[in-house]
Symmetry: C3
Subunit: 482 residues, 3 copies
Amino acid sequence: MTRPLILHEDRLFPADTATRAIARRLYAEVKGLPIISPHGHTDPAWFADNAPFSNATELLLAPDHYLYRMLYSQGVPLESLGVPSRAGRSSADPREAFRTFAAHWKLFRGTPSSLWLTHVFVEVFGLGVALSPETADLYFDTINEKLATAAFRPRALFERFNIEVLATTESPSDSLKHHMAIRESGWAGQVITAYRPDPVVDPEHEEFAPSLELFALLSGKDVTTWRGYLEAHRIRRAAFKEAGATSTDHGHPTARTADLTDAEAEALFQVIVSGNATPEQAELFRAQMLTEMAKMSLDDGLVMQIHPGSFRNHNAALHARFGRDKGADIPTSTEYVRALKPLLDRLGNERELRIILFTLDESAYARELAPLAGHYPVLKLGPAWWFHDSPEGMRRFREQTTETAGFYNTVGFNDDTRAFLSIPARHDVARRVDAGFLARLVAEHRLGEDEARELIVDLAYNLPRQAYRLDRSQSEKIARSA
Amino acid sequence: MTRPLILHEDRLFPADTATRAIARRLYAEVKGLPIISPHGHTDPAWFADNAPFSNATELLLAPDHYLYRMLYSQGVPLESLGVPSRAGRSSADPREAFRTFAAHWKLFRGTPSSLWLTHVFVEVFGLGVALSPETADLYFDTINEKLATAAFRPRALFERFNIEVLATTESPSDSLKHHMAIRESGWAGQVITAYRPDPVVDPEHEEFAPSLELFALLSGKDVTTWRGYLEAHRIRRAAFKEAGATSTDHGHPTARTADLTDAEAEALFQVIVSGNATPEQAELFRAQMLTEMAKMSLDDGLVMQIHPGSFRNHNAALHARFGRDKGADIPTSTEYVRALKPLLDRLGNERELRIILFTLDESAYARELAPLAGHYPVLKLGPAWWFHDSPEGMRRFREQTTETAGFYNTVGFNDDTRAFLSIPARHDVARRVDAGFLARLVAEHRLGEDEARELIVDLAYNLPRQAYRLDRSQSEKIARSA
Amino acid sequence: MTRPLILHEDRLFPADTATRAIARRLYAEVKGLPIISPHGHTDPAWFADNAPFSNATELLLAPDHYLYRMLYSQGVPLESLGVPSRAGRSSADPREAFRTFAAHWKLFRGTPSSLWLTHVFVEVFGLGVALSPETADLYFDTINEKLATAAFRPRALFERFNIEVLATTESPSDSLKHHMAIRESGWAGQVITAYRPDPVVDPEHEEFAPSLELFALLSGKDVTTWRGYLEAHRIRRAAFKEAGATSTDHGHPTARTADLTDAEAEALFQVIVSGNATPEQAELFRAQMLTEMAKMSLDDGLVMQIHPGSFRNHNAALHARFGRDKGADIPTSTEYVRALKPLLDRLGNERELRIILFTLDESAYARELAPLAGHYPVLKLGPAWWFHDSPEGMRRFREQTTETAGFYNTVGFNDDTRAFLSIPARHDVARRVDAGFLARLVAEHRLGEDEARELIVDLAYNLPRQAYRLDRSQSEKIARSA
């Protein structure tokens, strides 16, 4: 027996009748707004090549660590799910992998993955029965058939999804060829890049040495000197900006910053490039580089994002066999107040600099992040991130930051995803949760409904455009083309 | 004037009408299910001897640190409450002690103790008026009269409570004679033990030296050598398993683990048995022993529970006079990500090993524990523990773990109590809070009601049986007796 | 177009109809009760001199760091808001400053400042239209006109606000002349002081050296010897007590305490007065002084308040130009369990000593503070503080402390404000949030409504009087004057 698959129009709204009615009205204001996606990890090659996606398993399951980590936690081997390893592509049969996934679908009850995928199944693929072992083949065949059609090519979906702008992230050692190809193709879709220098900034990154070589090649600088290395950053940042970038992104183990003298920084850099840095020296170098990047942001206007606090590749055996980003990154306790002080002492009061802070440690929301963002002109708060990109996580974010930092020191939603098809679902969840939060404030007479109407549009559309300087970037582009 | 004592049938359900209606339906699915109590601290002698309980004070007040700690915080001396000290039994008159308790009953407003005791008063003793100074004697007399009857003997209550299985915890230096007596008595009640080796694993435990001696005696091994000490654990674990144990339990100050070489471990052990260990060596030894216990669990199948983060006996003066477990244990900030890595690097991907993690530090739920349990095959999350075994605590547990770890990486409820009469009340609270949480998900269209119906039975009955391998243990028993 | 300004009678009550009805009934019990304000930072000169307040900007905006920090975070210079700097009074035109504030009013949506000021605008000044750029001048003129009238002088407002007792905080080096002037004036308003020795206890306080000099002068003791220094404290504490003080207050970076021998303390003190203390020695001295203050409290009966965990003056450039208390104090992670142990080992079981703990680190509520206060006779929990003095912050406080510490180990509300006009608003918010919290417990059948009625009066009135010994202090005063 199969269950119908339902995407209820009131999903995620508070149950209380009066509050729900307000939430419905607020959501109606933003339901149809274009999607602003200023931070994510989709593959620009999709939009450059516009080739059809292969099949349900390779599109939906194998690249989504939210999904396979949960199955892995219950004893399902990654090999059986089509997840590629260091040895290359998985030898699993995609249909069998999808069946395995369907057989474990109940594991996702109560999770955001369940919400997102249900949205994808209903809205993108028009499925009407719930996923189960009985319907696994129906799903697999239906999805594959649709993916083979023109309407499901990346650019067609981008347009159908009503995406106004989509940012990807690339390393400074990336040639940006896909972004150039998108531009040169004449396609109107706005796919931009973001400068993610971790591979050339983190001496403990496994790609550090080869990335530095490409960095030298692409910048034409001798990156083994401190001066040349910094200049290479300036050159690549300019190239990224030319390719549409309005932001940089920094994924560090901690939020630590430093403000060394030039001589100290130069000496430290020599140790780093020698390959003999201790863990403490590596950490200090990352810390110093956050301040260097902030100084460059003040010059070139790129918005700086700091994503700290993930213990990457925690599962040593899995990392050895499957490589990075396999669902074994675990958040850690993250301190901001002392960590950011060197950078803030140097640049915290600059009105033209913007730094967006994220966290995987929710205990910092009310204690550290909202008080910091509610004071320093350079700081704004990124949305609930990663494991906290969920209805309860978003609710805690608003409940714990709004009273101290307000709404206007936050930057709207980031989907932060490589799961392209889930982007509309993720933005829809965020809009619904914000509608519900605002509706509660209205129902409790802490906010006027007219104010809430203005706020929800700001949260869904205006704030991300302003915070990431997407409005400015468009004006500049218009100015340039005039 | 006396107030009526009411146990409302809708207690703990959300107030919203539609959500409450769903909660009622879900709760009805599990209200009558047998109790699975896989972790607790009742005294097996009760069920071995089946002697009547003495009186209301000695049964309900004197052993319950939730109760007397609250009174102590308001200036009531423990001596006046019948709490035994190092000098022996209290000289307090039980009736006077109960009157003192009744006079302070309002201190428990809004606490789980109030919920639990109200359930005991109404359901177990049939009382119909609220506790107050005026009714203290009525309570004391009514309870004592009933306790003297056959229907209130331990085994009769066990059966009336519909307990399917009840686990106690014993030290390796316990002879298990009560458990043997229960078995030999022919009584059908399933009371099993659990292996709690803290007294022979923690060099800072005040009973360490005498416990080691008994450990040697009961195992027949020379426990002053590393090899003999490990072998003694294997022998005692086997004896516990024979007495029904399906799990071990480890109450450590931190979650730290280690994975020393054999030579390092042996050298460390020699320092430990010499009695000259530093605090850091003691901590390292406990850390190493968690990994040793995990290795043995992989061999013998006993489920491993880790209960870290309590600062035991914080009140030095009280500890000197009254001894351990007198309500002065205080939770501390607890780190898991780095602490567990040595053990997880060694055994984290073993599909036959199961480790259940608990915490007294709720900030770890969403940050560390749910991400760990939502990835590692060996890990599952124990329920909200101790101070968090409460309606708000359970709600936070579900809200902060479900979205990342799902429901199926949790293990259902533990009552963890020495207050035997409160066991049905505690399980009832857990079932009601889970019904309320699931009802909210259903009302917000995040879960189908059919899914919630399946889930609540899993949470109340199937998950604890599976997680603690109680189903497996019964199959083995059936196999053995065949 | 101007919006009406509405102070809805159901504000802050839960939206659920049944729960709201209970909240209304509970709030009605306390709505009209006198205000007990046992901890705050109003200026006693206001009540001594009873001079009219100057204008809207100097009264409402320039001294309120909750307001100007938010504007500063969005790029508004403090100079333009009338905030005084180290150079003296601001040269900003008060009307222009108020217009700037009005233009940014939407930043406060969803914040407690919005609730408090709306209350002030409606209830104190009778304004009926919302603040906006269009109404800025109307506001400025209306407020200034009223401030010039007799009904808006400090004493008249104090009486209109129904304040039964208001505590200010002064340094031991304060002459208390304003408090003496209030007494001698014959005015019946009860304005008392509190002993805040930070400037003479914290070697890192920028006023440490000059404060010590005044301390010596006012006490008549040689405060360069350990014995003389302690004696000076005893003398000033007695003077404060004579001026009505019932409490002391300690704002330390951490909760650390120490219990040194006399010889150790004396040696440490000599380093401190030499001006050569290391940061660690400064921290140890503050730690020791908490224990010294506790010992004196045991002698003289002053209730001790500990406010730890603020990183003061985090913004170095702003501090250099504007001085202390300019909205750049940021909370930090705060540990209590180990930090308080030395003091508690010495004095934790004293029934006549009372210590009220506050926190800026909410993760400590359920983990450390409620378990500590639910055990130690000397400890009670202060209300949600500073950034957490907000509807969501108060709700979290109750949800995370009640189940372990109960209501009776808390002390009611503190407004902790220098914004005199907001005092009724702040107490009203607290009473409403408590009414909503209790109403939920009643609606969920976790508490009888009769119990909730008693509790809400205790929380609003009886507990602060008892906890701060204001009842005792009045009895003593009556005894003295008899």
